[in-house]
């Protein structure tokens, strides 16, 4: 399948989504069929694309570009790229996606808004697949945001529930905070590199020339430009992939239907952050001892450990899995920072399978137990739902890193690269501790849910775990969880070599060398030991959840309280960030009301004062003055008129006086 046709892969689900929005709400079965069918077709095409990349023996990367729009005399091109990274992601997303779609057909068979659900889910799939094939950072960003939109739509699917609506908003806002960093990084890259195309016959921003120039250019504090830009992009990836401190949305996102949690928050959307960093790895690695890779490693390792701790204190079935996802994403970041994209992608793929498996299994459990999600009120399902128990166990073992399952090998790779990291050993230690905790909390969850007494009263006897639409996906995912690991063992690192473009060689020597064996031993110890520890604490003969409190709670109540409440990070955010923003908002509004508004009114008052003074001057000074003058004149005239009293003698007196005056004046003048 040539690269020009790559667009079909996201286009099919998009078309399905479009068709589904036009269908009436009664066409549930047709909707499921269309949606699932389109995903399977996408998977087929992804397979064809993957085969294309295998055609040549060596590393193949082909691109297809076209002009989107022109500004000035330049044109902005976008397009798709087909290389091993793309192929791997496409296969993972489409396969896991198809299986989840299939599962949803059964899971949501009785949901009245099924059509809308599948429309939204298909839209998500389209956006995710579009993100994967993008050869341009802008196109990737567009699909990134659309994935966020789809996530919002799906988390808030049961919009009547206030918690779901709030969780959807939280998810979008927190990831958007990350997206803003991504956005600034993107436009920065655009302005210094002049192009956002990844691969463009040598001129792309991930190709030699640009990467070299970005690595050479430094800004404040001596940081390379590539480092700064990738740090900003990292912030975006942290949002989408739920790394601390932008992880707070993921646990709440469990409000959405379980298939949504499986697809978006296990296999696809959260993996997009890791994929983005893997794709931009040339930039991250542009300078030796790159600051961004260090940052990625630290963020990843801290998140991995922190989330594993918190998972230990959770009692909601899906939330444990959510925290587990956060933790595993931290592992992926750790792998990326220390070992490169191949290590991270390997874990991404294996994680997609076993986490989706776990979520779907959890979905079966929830539905069977009347939508009960609290593990303290579940139990004893081992015998009532044996098939689910079986596949769930496989998923759990894979996650906990039980030897020779897929999770074991992918974590192995991460340990291997973390151990030899020059900067510090602490990430390795954190990773190891996290692995132990992973085994513990997963076993804890399994024991609570599947072992012990059956504590749930609303178990639906009618629920069939053998239905094809339920069983096939679970079984397929379980197979993946078991087998996929073998693609990436130390002895035969097919996966890594495929991604990096070399031919894989079967080398048992690599496996048996001291370093590797030691690590294998360590991982086995951690996982088996952790499981044993948890079994020891939580096994049914020791601990009855119906009557006792969680042992951890009993022994370390204060620590448990911190774990249970995620170290109160949510509350801290609410008190600082949320409250701060609201205060700022109110402040801005008050500023308007009490400052700018009154300033304008002050100006108006000033003008009014001037006008008032003018009126005063006009009325009092001019008008009344004029009146007064007139009156004075009139009074004077009246007075003068009164002098004319009609008496002759008076007149003669006037004449005489005037004459005397004249004479006197003349004499005076004459004298001077």
């Amino acid at each position: 399948m040539a690269v020009e046709w790559l667009w079909l892969i996201p286009a099919l689900p998009l078309l399905a989504a479009g068709v589904l929005t036009l269908l009436p709400t009664t066409a549930g079965r047709a909707a499921s069929f269309v949606a699932t069918g389109s995903m399977f077709l996408s998977f087929v095409f992804s397979g064809l694309a993957w085969l294309t990349t295998l055609d040549q023996g060596e590393f193949s990367r082909t691109t297809f570009d076209f002009v989107w729009f022109k500004t000035g005399t330049a044109a902005l091109k976008i397009g798709w790229v087909l290389d091993p990274l793309t192929a791997v992601m496409l296969l993972t997303v489409s396969l896991v996606g198809s299986l989840i779609f299939l599962f949803s057909v059964g899971y949501l068979a009785r949901e009245e808004r099924r059509v809308t659900f599948f429309a939204h889910l298909s839209f998500f799939a389209a956006a995710m697949l579009g993100l994967v094939i993008a050869n341009n950072l802008l196109l990737l960003f567009v699909c990134w945001e659309l994935v966020g939109l789809a996530s919002w739509l799906l988390i808030g699917f049961w919009f009547r529930k206030p918690e779901a609506a709030a969780a959807a908003r939280k998810a979008f806002v927190v990831t958007h905070i990350g997206d803003m960093g991504f956005f600034v990084g993107m436009i920065w890259l655009a302005s210094v590199a002049g192009t956002l195309q990844f691969f463009d016959a040598g001129a792309g921003c991930l190709e030699e020339t640009v990467v070299h120039s970005l690595g050479a250019a430094t800004i404040l504090g001596g940081l390379a430009l590539s480092t700064v830009i990738t740090l900003l992009v990292l912030w975006g990836a942290m949002g989408k992939s739920g790394q601390v401190p932008l992880h707070v949305w993921l646990p709440d996102a469990m409000e959405g239907p379980t298939p949504v949690s499986a697809l978006i928050h296990a296999a696809a959307m959260v993996a997009a952050g890791v994929y983005l960093l893997a794709r931009l790895f040339p930039l991250l690695d542009a300078v030796p001892d790159s600051g961004s890779l260090v940052a990625v490693t630290w963020v990843g390792s801290l998140t991995a450990f922190f989330a594993a701790l918190v998972a230990l204190g959770q009692t909601d079935l899906k939330r444990i899995l959510a925290w587990s996802t956060i933790s595993q994403l931290g592992y992926m970041m750790l792998g990326l920072g220390t070992g490169g994209p191949a290590v991270a992608m390997f874990h991404l793929v294996t994680h997609a399978f076993f986490k989706a498996l776990l979520f779907l299994g959890a979905g079966s459990v929830i539905q069977a137990c009347g939508h009960e999600q609290d593990i303290r009120r579940l139990g004893g399902l081992r015998r009532r739902m044996p098939f689910t128990f079986g596949v769930y166990a496989i998923g759990m073992l894979a996650l906990a890193g039980f030897p020779f399952l897929s999770g074991f090998w992918s974590k192995e790779a991460i340990f291997h690269s973390a151990q030899v990291w020059e900067v510090s050993r602490i990430p390795f230690v954190l990773a190891v501790a996290g692995a132990l905790l992973t085994a513990v909390y997963m076993t804890r969850q399994m024991v609570y849910v599947f072992f012990g007494e059956h504590r749930n009263s609303s178990f639906q006897k009618s629920f069939s775990e053998r239905a094809v639409v339920t069983a096939v996906p679970l079984a397929a995912l379980a197979c993946g969880a078991i087998t996929l690991g073998f693609l990436g063992t130390q002895a035969f690192p097919l996966f890594q070599e495929y991604l990096e473009g070399e031919t894989a060689v079967l080398a048992w020597g690599d496996l048996i060398g001291w370093g590797s064996l030691g690590l294998i031993a360590l991982s086995t110890l951690l996982s088996v030991g952790g499981m044993a520890l948890a079994w020891g604490i939580y096994r049914p003969s020791q601990f009855d959840p119906a009557r006792q409190q969680d042992p951890l709670n009993r022994w370390f109540p204060r620590i448990f309280r911190w774990l249970e409440n995620q170290f109160f990070l949510d509350e801290w955010y609410r008190q600082t960030v949320v409250r701060g923003t609201c205060l700022a908002g109110r402040g801005a509004e008050v500023l308007d009301r009490l400052i700018w508004g009154p300033v304008v009114r002050l100006c108006a008052a000033l003008v009014q004062t001037v006008a008032w003074c003018s009126r005063l001057a006009d009325e009092q000074l001019v008008n009344r003055g004029f009146d007064r003058v007139c009156r004075a004149v009139r009074q004077g005239a009246a007075w003068c008129s009164e002098r004319q009293n009609g008496r002759v003698q008076t007149y003669i007196k006037y004449v005489g006086a005037s004459l005397a005056l004249v004479v006197w004046v003349l004499i005076l003048i004459d004298r001077s």
Partner: protein, 519 residues
């Protein structure tokens, strides 16, 4: 046929129609009056569409305008010049006016006045976007203001009267600044034509000579004149802190009037900045660019914050408008920090920013217009209710309305795939090249807008259904006539922005070349 006759028709037809309706409309039924008004607006729309056809076919040859002598003693001509940007603005006008008229019949027995005033406003708007010289332009600028005042106070309540008065006086104060500034220029140079003024050498020293003000230095004189002219624009668009008239006005005016105010009249102000103030006062803007840029960033962030604190839907969208238009200011001033030399050196980046501004002007007009339209329809259904807290779960009762408004809200927050993203992306991309800190800070505004949009969706449409609204009707056929084209434009702008960029690009290139060589 040149562009002169159709534009003249587009200016005169609404004037005549409005006058006719004002005089004779009292006896007719509201629907009939609205129908006539729509008919006239429709004619104008068709003329505008024919303009586009001509523009697409003949390109620049069609668009260069012509003028006839008018008042010869003052060297005033009556003319029409249209370029890509004006054409886009004219499209916005002819699209939004019929949308406002669709619901005009609800104003009852004063419908004839309402429709007439809107038609007068349309004539004024078309005139503003095509005038090549100050005299004519200012005439139309004020011609827009008077009907707008009466439209804002149409409901007759005391608060509406107060808001209208503040709107009128504040905007007039700004216009007076413009007038003074240009009278000074005219006294010195003797022409009102914008292009001529922009290309005049040593404009400020000639003004100083012409006015006989030797004591004031040329630089100071230039700054004073610029400040006066800029005041008019800053109040109109508006720019923080000259924006305090806006929330009250948008809240008190009838919804369709707010739609026109936000969609067109603010664009009118910004268009004036691009066409008039920027080319003529280039040096002063370059000098003050960093400060003005800071003001633009403050405008973006502070208005988004203030929007967050509002509970009245209208006020939220009012502050949101200030935020979006702040992006346009951001783009202009970021580019101008480079100075003329910088413009010549990096033409493509500057054009990117200006393209983004043009896109943002059109797209925001559509989006904000749609949002106010929908708010108005919501108020109409719920008897005037528009407090965010009094709704809940409306998606159950009016699903299509909810979907439309959600799409419009996501568009306003800049979701890629919808039109506003293209404008914002291009503005940010172009500005970042020249100044880094300003777009980085303005990104906060984007984030806050996202929070606001989601809050509105959550409070109004999601959550437990508020049984008070269970009988609300969904979108009516009339409303579809507005909603469907608007949504189409939203998606079209997001997926294929070239349809607008085709026209805006040319205009931006011309503007940049005018700015970079202007003396």
């Amino acid at each position: 046929m040149t562009v002169f006759e159709p534009i003249l028709f587009m200016m005169l037809a609404p004037l005549a129609g409005g006058a006719f309706l004002w005089r004779f409309g009292r006896e007719w039924s509201p629907e009939r009056i609205a129908g006539i008004g729509l008919g006239i607006a429709g004619l104008v729309l068709l003329t505008g569409a024919s303009l586009s056809v001509g523009a697409l076919r003949d390109g620049a040859a069609f668009l260069t305008g012509s003028s006839v002598p008018w008042i010869t003693t003052l060297n005033v001509r009556f003319g029409v010049t249209v370029d890509g940007l004006s054409l886009v603005m004219i499209w916005l006008t002819v699209l939004l006016i019929p949308a406002a008229l669709l619901t005009a019949s609800e104003t009852g027995d004063r419908t004839h006045r309402f429709v007439a005033l809107i038609l007068f406003l349309e004539a004024g708007l078309i005139g503003v976007f095509v005038s090549p010289s100050f005299f004519q332009w200012f005439l139309f600028w004020e011609l827009c203001l008077i009907p707008a005042y009466f439209l804002v106070r149409f409901s007759g309540s005391a608060s509406a009267n107060r808001a209208a008065r503040q709107f009128l006086l504040y905007t007039l104060a700004g216009s007076v600044g413009l007038l003074l500034s240009f009278m000074a220029l005219f006294a010195a140079v003797g022409t009102f034509d914008f292009i001529e003024l922009a290309q005049t050498e040593d404009l400020m020293s000639r003004v100083a000579e012409g006015l006989g003000w030797e004591t004031v230095s040329t630089g100071t004189l230039g700054l004073i004149l610029f400040a006066l002219a800029f005041l008019g624009v800053a109040v109109k668009v508006p720019l923080y802190p000259f924006h305090t008239w806006l929330p009250d006005t948008y809240a008190e005016a009838p919804a369709s009037v707010s739609m026109l105010l936000t969609g067109l009249m603010s664009k009118m102000g910004f268009y004036a900045l691009l066409r008039i103030v920027l080319p003529i006062f280039t040096d002063q803007i370059v000098q003050l660019a960093v400060w003005l840029l800071g003001l633009a960033v403050v405008s973006v962030v502070a208005s988004a914050l203030a929007a967050l604190a509002q509970t009245d839907l209208r006020r939220v969208f009012a502050y949101s408008s200030i935020n979006h238009l702040g992006h346009c200011f951001l783009g202009v001033f970021a580019v101008m920090t480079a100075g003329k030399a910088g413009l010549t050196a990096s033409v493509n980046e500057a054009v990117t920013a200006f393209d983004g501004i043009g896109l943002q002007m059109f797209n925001h007009g559509v989006i904000a217009g749609l949002l106010f339209f929908l708010t108005g329809r919501l108020e109409n259904r719920t008897g005037g209710e528009r407090d965010l807290r009094s709704f809940g779960g409306l998606r159950c009762f009016v699903p299509r309305f909810a979907t439309t408004m959600t799409i419009a809200l996501f568009a306003s927050l800049g979701l890629p795939g919808l039109s506003a993203f293209m404008g914002e992306f291009l503005i940010f991309k172009g500005s970042f090249f020249f100044v880094g800190w300003a777009p980085a800070l303005a990104v906060l505004g984007l984030l806050l807008t996202a929070v606001i949009a989601l809050e509105i969706v959550r409070r109004v449409f999601a959550g437990p259904p508020n049984q008070r609204w269970q009988d609300l009707p969904d979108l009516s056929r009339k409303e579809y006539c507005v909603v469907v084209p608007a949504l189409l434009l939203l998606f079209l702008g997001g997926i294929w922005p070239q349809w607008l960029l085709e026209f805006i690009n040319g205009a931006s290139l011309d503007l940049i070349s005018l700015l970079s060589v202007a003396p």
